[in-house]
Structure formats: structure tokens, C-alpha cells
Assembly symmetry: C2
Homo-oligomer: 229 residues x 2
Amino acid sequence: MRLAELSERSGVSTATIKYYLREGLLQPGHRVTATQAAYGEEHLRRLRLVRALIQIGKVPVAVARDVIAAAEDTSLDHHMRLGAATRALPHPPGPAADDEATGAARRSVDALLEQLGWQDPHDEPSPALGTLVTSVAALARLGYPCDAAHLLPYGRLAAELAVADLDTVEERPTAAGQIEAAVALTVLYEPVLLSLRRLAHIQESARRFGGQEVRPGRSAGPDQAATGA
Amino acid sequence: MRLAELSERSGVSTATIKYYLREGLLQPGHRVTATQAAYGEEHLRRLRLVRALIQIGKVPVAVARDVIAAAEDTSLDHHMRLGAATRALPHPPGPAADDEATGAARRSVDALLEQLGWQDPHDEPSPALGTLVTSVAALARLGYPCDAAHLLPYGRLAAELAVADLDTVEERPTAAGQIEAAVALTVLYEPVLLSLRRLAHIQESARRFGGQEVRPGRSAGPDQAATGA
DNA sequence: CATGTTTGGATAGTGACAGTATCCAAGGGA
DNA sequence: TCCCTTGGATACTGTCACTATCCAAACATG
């Protein structure tokens, strides 16, 4: 198929596809003549993945390129490619300063990992660790307790999530498919998870604080409460 | 304290503080003279919150202003203020197109909410719902199954998270503190949760696929494997 | 073969965003 | 008094993800 058709079937403008080609997110199409190229189904599939990563997952374009490159780096084995791909994903910055809050956060996180029995199987720690420390430090600076005890339930839930995620990954028949699935699920389930969490917040908040539903400007009576339609 | 001291104690440059003042993220300081203003501890606290929301939580500046305004809108009761504040938070865009994948995603999400027993207590659905539908649709388009059955475990975990989060919120003694806590925890626990999930992925991936640790370019033997330091 | 349209590639421009740099007049300290 | 700092207003910068414009080579058509 030509670029125009690829654009139509993917819903991505030709200008954007050209941009992705330029940035190395898409393999160039097979050159038919000097001024025409043919694209296949795998281009379409790749394009959809890239789009989802960038639009849904908010992955920067340059990072998406690196992730895809890592996912296709056949010099690594399965496990390492998984690690390399997810490691290339965007991570919020690790701790910049080395103040007291950061040190305390680091200790909390270390304690948490030990309680969870997690060890880093790679040589260097995942960038996710830095993100975790930064976030915990920020919370601590605001006066919210984030010690290992508070974090432990979140860690356990994360472990459950990981089991479910890897189950889904293993449903893929091919190794390449599993790598792609790992990347896609890691990134694209994040908004799913966060949305569900926010919806659950609303439910739980309604359960605890709600019910009276005193709304200004509307005549919604308190009797229909949270059980209403 | 003066602006310079506020800057020093918060680690935020005076230029940025001025920017936040301009954007309405910070109350102006108490004007001492025509050219000097005094800031209090509450300014410092607010500034730290704003910084955390923007830097850690990636909340756009304009949204952070709205969230804070909603959190301080005393015309609403506790529950509604919580809802208004979290509703003002940035949400990835809802479904733009109304294609087949979106429709299927919407049905999956509806089924999920029903299975979870969740109802929207507010008049209009949370923007998180739109995000969820968009993400599920994107996953479906890539060929990853995201029906209610697959989502259900995530939903249950989200419910558990919400219980833990609201417990933390209720630890705050004052109503205003609870609102702030709800906003801060909603936003700042997101990177915590996502980091933990990624770390858990690494653990689970090592458990399933790892062990041999065949690394190119390094002499790490396969014997130290995933149980190594 | 002439001609007009389409195609793909290169280049430069756009708009949003989050700050940052500069300038200025009014205070405050030596 | 003199100079340095302070806070406020204005304009600038860099980044990012596109997007609009050109251009020359093909292809389709008469």
C-alpha cells in the first residue's frame, strides 16, 4: 500500500507518518520507484503501536524509537530484551538533589524492596527505582508518610498486577509478539490502571463521605443519594 | 519571609515563583511596602504542593491552579470538593472518534463497572471514564483483549488501592487537609504505583523468563542468575 | 508525446507549554 | 547620600509534536 492508504487505514495524517519515518519510528517503505514506496501490514501494525504509545502512553517520540529499537535488538535474549525495552521507556526523573527527604525515601524504598523480597536482577537498578524514590521524597516533604509500611500494600498490589500482565504477555505465541506485548501493556495499561484507581476513589469517597449529595444550583434532593441512577 | 527566602527554602527559583504568582497558583504575599511582600509558612507549603503536582505529577500549570481553586471552594461540601478537585485534574483525552473499537470498549467498560458494582454518584461521568474507554479501545485496536473479564482483576485491585488511599486521607485531621491530601495522594501516588508496577514486572519477568542472564559484553556468569546481589 | 495530478521527501514554520532573562522603580542599609 | 537588593512587568528561550509548503519525479490520460 502507498503512504496515502497507510494514512487512511491508520487515521494518521500523511504529514505525521512522514514525520515518524524521519524520526525512525517506522521502517521506510519498500521503494518501488524513486518517488514511490510501498508499505505492508506490518507498517500499519507498527504505526498503530507507535500512535498508541505516543498518544495514549504519552511516550516522547524519541523514546518510542528507542523502545522499539530495543524490542527488536535480536542480540539480546528474551528476558533481556524485555528489560531493555521497558528500561528505555520514559521514566520521570530520578532524584536530583540529595537532601534529607531523598535519603529517607531511599531507605524506605530499600526496606520495602526487602520486605517484598525483590532484588534487581540486572546490573544496574531500574530507572523506576529513581522515580519511586523521587516521588516518595516529594510526598514526605509534603508531610505524607511514605514509609515501607505504607508502601507495602501498594507493592503487593503491584506484584499482583505484574502477574496478570505477564500472563497476558505469555498469551502471545511468538517471542517478538511477547516483547511487543510487554511494551504495549506496560505503557497502555497505565492509563487504564490510573483511570480505574480514580474511579475507585470516587466510589470509595462516596461510600465514606457521600450520600447527602448537597449540590448547589441543582434541585437534586438528598434522598436519591449515591444509590441513584 | 520575603520572596528570596521562600525561594531558598523551597528550592524554587524566584523567577519561577513569580511565574506561579502570575498564574495564580500562589496567593500574593502580604504587601509590606510598595515593593516588598511577606510570605508565610502556608505559602511555602502551597509552593511545595504546587511544585510536586507539576514536577512529579506532570500536572499542567493551568490545571494545578484549577485543582487548587476547586479544593478551596468552600461553597461545596466535603465530598463534592473532593470530587471537584480530582475532576479538575488532568485526564488524558476521552474518545475522539466513535469507531467500532470505541464502541466495544465502551461496552466492556460498562460491563466492568456493573460487575464491580460501581455507579457514578455524580451527575455526569468522571473524565476518567473517557480515558479508560480510550485506552481500552487503543489496546483492542492493537489486538490485545481488554474485555470486562480481563479488566476485572485490575478493577478489584484499584478498589483496594482506593481503600488504602482514603484511609490515608482520613488520617488528616482537618477537612481542608483531607482535600489537599486527596489531591496530593491521587496525583503523587501515581508515579509510585507505576514505578512499583514496573519493578514488579522486572521481578515477575525474571521469575518467568530470567535466570540464565546471558549478557553480551560482560562476563557475568549464568550461575549468579537472578538470585545474585 | 504533452499535460495535469499524485506521490514522497526535504525544509521551515506553528502553537502550546514551562519556565527564564531583562528591565525598572521603590526600599533599605552603610 | 549612595548603592545594592527586592518585587513586579514584559519579553524572550527552548522543547516538543506536529504541520504547511515546496519541489521534482512518476503515473494516468488524451
